[in-house]
């Protein structure tokens, strides 16, 4: 008890912080020029890579991509894809290709932690939602 009293006195002496409330507005500071944003972007990029342990990046090893089990639909086809992002480490995904002649623009959908992973079929997570958002 006696040890705690200095802490209580200290807490009383320190002014209370200005609390944030639900009514606070957050305005993102605009950048004055493209050059200013480029500087900021380079800073962010460097720090994202550094904090992810990707500075320097690992060597880009052969992908050894395999595309298999393709299913054709009327205006698109779906195939399964497996490639090695690191030697012996597989990354899997589905490759949706529109019918017709390419080359087509492409959209990468890192699908996140849904219950069914990349097979989650809801409005938020479906590949078609992503394709529409990108103007496809």
């Amino acid at each position: 008890m006696s040890l705690a009293w200095p802490l209580v006195l200290l807490a009383a002496a320190v002014p209370a912080p200005a609390y944030r409330t639900h009514n606070d507005r957050l305005t993102v500071a605009p950048y004055a020029s493209p050059a200013e944003w480029q500087r900021r972007a380079a800073y962010l990029k460097e720090h994202i890579l550094a904090s992810s342990g990707l500075l320097p990046m690992p060597e880009k090893t052969p992908l050894r991509a395999q595309i298999f089990d393709e299913r054709k639909r009327d205006d698109y086809s779906v195939a399964k894809v497996e490639f090695e992002s690191l030697p012996g480490f597989s990354v899997t995904g589905n490759l949706y290709t529109p019918a017709g002649r390419g080359p087509f623009p492409a959209v990468l959908l890192p699908h996140g932690h849904w219950t069914y992973g990349r097979l989650e079929n809801t409005e938020v997570s479906s590949p078609w939602t992503g394709a529409r958002a990108c103007g496809g």
Partner: protein, 113 residues
């Protein structure tokens, strides 16, 4: 990186980012993909984490990416942005049954915090 990740030599965030970057390499290697027009979209956290990471970090995407559009506003994001942004709350009011349920829950709680 924590201790276990440093033994692996790669953090989990780094592994996810690296997988996304190699996925872009895979897309670029395809003859039926226009390497100049590759985008990324995601829903979690308004598409912030993986999608913006690869846009930030892959030269092919960086050159062409003018705008990063979230696939859709996620329910979680809506909930939080409704809390922090009154204008958003006006435009997207929470459904009344959710408000009533919340009030009932609050009124019937046993313990006062």
């Amino acid at each position: 990186m924590d201790r276990r990740e440093s033994l692996w030599g790669l953090s989990l965030a780094g592994l996810q980012l690296w997988n996304a970057l190699r996925s872009l390499d895979f897309l670029q290697s395809r003859p039926d993909v226009d390497g100049e027009r590759i985008g990324a979209a995601g829903a979690t956290g308004r598409g912030a984490s993986p999608a913006s990471n690869c846009v930030l970090s892959h030269p092919a995407v960086e050159g062409g990416a003018r705008r990063l559009t979230p696939a859709r506003r996620s329910p979680t994001f809506d909930r939080f942005s409704t809390l922090i942004d009154p204008e958003n709350a006006r435009r997207h009011p929470p459904p009344t049954h959710a408000i009533r349920a919340g009030v009932r829950r609050f009124a019937s709680r046993k313990r006062v915090i």
